[in-house]
């Protein structure tokens, strides 16, 4: 089974990468860009009996390692 873990910053948390990218794009002449934010995706392939048990396991991975709950949210999207 393959899932994408989609990680984004919580509302109100500074996003220096998004800001720097927006600034750069505007300097390059893309004046229509109104905002840029950065996200991170981990595509995880996992062996599991059921989607449910895989999802439980991926949630644990997120909590233990992949995300920082104070500043980030995550979503799991199944690819396969």
């Amino acid at each position: 089974m393959i899932a994408d873990v989609y990680i984004e910053l919580k509302e109100g948390v500074a996003d220096p990468e998004g800001e720097a990218t927006k600034k750069a794009l505007r300097l390059l002449g893309f004046k229509n860009v109104k905002s840029v934010s950065s996200r991170k995706v981990f595509r995880i392939e996992i062996d599991a009996r059921s989607r449910d048990s895989a999802e439980r396991e991926i949630k644990q991975m997120c909590e233990k390692l992949l995300i920082n709950p104070v500043i980030q949210n995550y979503q799991i999207r199944w690819v396969e």
């Binding site: 109100g12 500074a14 220096p16 920082n68 104070v70």
Partner: protein
């Protein structure tokens, strides 16, 4: 009604303290998150009663900031003043009074030192918390008009193999990796080398990690900027990042115990830094300093605008008028009080004469750093704030800033004396366990993640010896100006010792700091302290604090080393536990010529090994006890006179004789110190020890060094003639560390044990 909405087109409340009884006052303090106690609330009520009006929310919030432990040191000042701040040295330009200590470096330059804790934010959000700690300490240096040149990061966590983690607490390894990444990503991006630090694991830090950050900067003496306004008529310019809701109540948060729900509740107190605003901010500030355009400068740290404007005005004996709507905001809908106390990062406050304003604004514009005029210095010691033409604040600055002070009561607890230490079962195994102990093993995992060489002035690096397989040094040496003169930096404290005996533990920390400075051939010059303790309202905690400060004062005075800067962090305590007393010391030494600095790796075969100093049976808080499980409360003692005599002799010996390498004796005693010298060089040695082998090898008596020298007999005689102890214990060479008739271990084996002692927890 306690709160009354004011008749303004924006959010503003009048707080009815005049009609509030004691219960109401407590409620107000809690509901508004002021962290003020009933006495303090009553004092406020009295003040406003005399004015015949109620305060607005922004006024109350402002007082709460100024009176927080973090901003005004209300619980520590009284003892610090009595016990520590009276060591003078003629080369100190400014100590304690400002954001950073300023000390003469040479005819042209001064070095600037600051040291702070960032404990609570790092416990909640290690990455952002530690990164903003770096951001904050850089601003402290910058606001003196100095170029930051080195960062130092002492770190303390629960044991890496901890299993039962209380609810609401994060695993020490999670915290460690978050903190180190935060320091790395911020420090590396702003381009200031992180050259030294320490890492200590102890159960007592499980629910409260300690993250201290220090910084050294360099400034031209005639360009040092004070943290005060120039005089009436000057304009306030706010430069740097925009102001948002991040970091609201950071200081009041830092001034209370962490609770289980702290994570949810205090998220807004965690600030997030942006190094890519900071880096140009540093350049722009230094450019306006260089051009002589400022009358004063101060960073926005705890308490935000509220503290910075109050303190800069008061220091100048002036008042201020602020136009709050000029402050650039990150988000819409912020209430005026939020703008006023927000601790958003990367901001500096400058005061400038009106004629220089355009030039200053141009320079900031050139560096793409936002800067705006937000107020004016007045001559009346009153602070007034306007928001879209409404007056929303008017208070006497003296009342707000010169706050409360407590000489809190304390008790001193003395532990029963135990000294149940004996020979180990297997001495070689014990030595290997010591080397692979997480408090001793290689720190390469941390050190290499930091750019410790950017600015190209790190002469003695934290890792020394054979290339890509180096060992630890005692202090880093940087060359901050154009001459060959250098600055040595080290950070030290041993919490095993301080928790057992705050007095002798602190004295030992001082001794170790001096030893490390001396080992690289630098003259100890000044120091800064970061005093991390538990809840000062508990008498036992206060007792630990007082004992520690007493020892520090005694050592500093006797040795003649001025304390030029520092920080007190209380409330490192949860219902589960308090941290061990942690007086982290950052020592600064002067190296006359960096080319004469000495490193710790053995250099050549067949040279003599000399042990300098006196060894007795002192195992309290030792690595030996930690590894064998034996018990001792005999924490090593020391004395400033003895330390001073040995220091002088050591430095003289470095001039008189050829000394190839030198290392101080600390955790694990003589055996570990020598093993470290072997590991760094890949070269073995054989030594002979007198007396009970395990005592000579593992006792942690203070004031000792190991030297690798050419003229052994002469060196020994040199010390003996002065009435000091030194003995020739052996020679370098070979592939193993041999102690005649006691142990023999291959250097490769020592190396292996030492090298993966930390990485077996961190994963690589």
């Amino acid at each position: 009604m306690l709160y009354k909405r004011a008749d303004t087109p924006f959010e503003l409340y009048e707080i009815n303290v005049l009609d509030a009884n004691d219960e109401d006052l407590v409620k107000i303090s809690q509901e508004l998150g002021l962290a003020l106690n009933i006495e303090e609330m009553k004092k406020i009520k009295e003040h406003f009663a005399s004015k015949g009006r109620n305060p607005y929310d922004i006024e109350l919030q402002s007082i709460a900031q100024a009176w927080s432990e973090h901003c005004c040191y209300k619980s520590s000042k009284c003892y610090l003043k009595q016990l520590l701040f009276d060591v003078d040295a003629e080369y100190v330009i400014s100590a304690i009074k400002e954001d950073a200590g300023v000390v003469e470096f040479d005819d042209e330059y001064a070095y600037v030192v600051a040291f702070e804790s960032h404990n609570h934010p790092s416990a909640i959000e290690p990455y952002g918390g530690a990164a903003t700690g770096i951001g904050g300490i850089l601003r402290d240096i910058l606001c003196m008009g100095a170029q930051p040149v080195a960062l130092i990061d002492p770190l303390f966590f629960g044991r890496p193999d901890s299993e039962d983690i209380p609810k609401g607490t994060k695993h020490p390894l999670y915290l460690l990796s978050g903190v180190v990444s935060g320091i790395r990503d911020y420090g590396n991006r702003v381009g200031i080398p992180t050259v030294a630090g320490m890492l200590f694991f102890h159960d007592g830090y499980l629910t409260n990690c300690i993250v201290n950050v220090g910084c050294v900067g360099i400034a031209r003496k005639d360009r040092i900027i004070r943290s005060k306004a120039g005089g009436a008529g000057d304009l306030f310019i706010l430069a740097g990042g925009a102001t948002g809701r991040d970091g609201i109540h950071g200081v009041t948060f830092a001034s209370a115990e962490l609770e289980e729900e702290s994570e949810e509740k205090s998220r807004s107190a965690v600030q997030l830094g942006n190094p890519i605003i900071k880096e140009p901010l540093i350049h722009a500030c230094l450019e306006v300093v260089e051009k002589g355009l400022l009358t004063g400068m101060k960073d926005l740290g705890g308490g935000g605008l509220s503290c910075v404007i109050g303190e800069m005005s008061l220091a100048a004996g002036c008042g201020a008028e602020v136009w709050l709507e000029k402050v650039p905001l990150k988000e819409e809908g912020m209430a005026p009080w939020e703008i006023w106390i927000s601790e958003s990062q990367e901001r500096m406050m400058l005061t400038v004469k009106p004629k220089d304003v355009d030039e200053v604004l141009y320079i900031f514009q050139k560096w793409d750093v936002p800067a705006v005029v937000v107020g004016r210095v007045t001559d009346d010691r009153i602070l007034r704030i306007y928001y879209h033409n409404y007056k929303i604040y008017e208070m006497d600055i003296d009342f707000v800033v010169s706050a409360v002070e407590y000489c809190r009561p304390y008790v001193i607890k003395h532990a029963e004396v135990v000294d149940a230490v004996s020979k180990p079962a297997d001495i070689e195994k014990t030595l290997l366990e010591m080397l692979s102990h997480y408090n001793v093993a290689s720190r390469e995992w941390i050190i290499r993640q930091y750019d410790h060489e950017v600015r190209a002035s790190t002469v003695v690096k934290p890792l020394q010896g054979r290339i890509n397989r180096e060992g630890h040094g005692d202090a880093a040496v940087i060359r901050p100006a154009n001459s060959w003169k250098g600055i040595a930096v080290t950070a030290d404290v041993n919490p095993w010792m301080t928790s057992m005996d705050p007095y002798w533990g602190t004295a030992s920390a001082f001794d170790e700091m001096v030893r490390n400075l001396v080992a690289v051939n630098s003259v100890p010059h000044s120091f800064a302290d970061c005093l991390n303790f538990g809840n000062p309202e508990k008498q036992e905690r206060m007792g630990e604090f007082v004992e520690s400060v007493k020892a520090l004062g005694w050592m500093a005075r006797g040795f003649g080393l001025p304390c030029v800067s520092g920080n007190v962090s209380f409330y490192n305590e949860t219902p589960h536990m308090s941290v061990p007393p942690t007086p982290t010391l950052m020592g600064i030494g002067i190296v006359e010529n960096v080319r004469d600095a000495i490193t710790a790796d053995f250099k050549r075969k067949g040279s003599g090994i000399v042990l300098v100093g006196e060894t007795s049976k002192e195992f309290g808080g030792s690595l030996y006890c930690a590894v064998t499980g034996m018990k001792s409360t005999v924490v090593p003692e020391t004395s400033p006179e003895k330390l001073s005599e040995y220091t002088k002799a050591m430095l003289e010996a470095f001039r008189e004789f050829k000394v190839y390498s030198c290392h101080d004796v600390a955790e694990g005693g003589l055996a570990v110190a020598i093993a470290e010298m072997c590991v760094a060089s890949g070269m073995g040695c054989s030594i002979d020890v007198e007396g009970e082998a395990y005592i000579t090898l593992f006792s942690e008596s203070n004031t000792r060094w190991i030297m690798e020298v050419r003229e052994v007999e002469e060196v020994v005689r040199f010390f003996t003639k002065k009435g000091l102890k030194a003995s020739h214990i052996g020679y370098t060479g070979g592939k193993s560390f041999d102690v005649e008739g006691v142990l023999s271990v291959a250097v490769e084996e020592l190396d292996e044990a030492w090298r993966d002692g930390l990485t077996r927890f961190t994963g690589w």
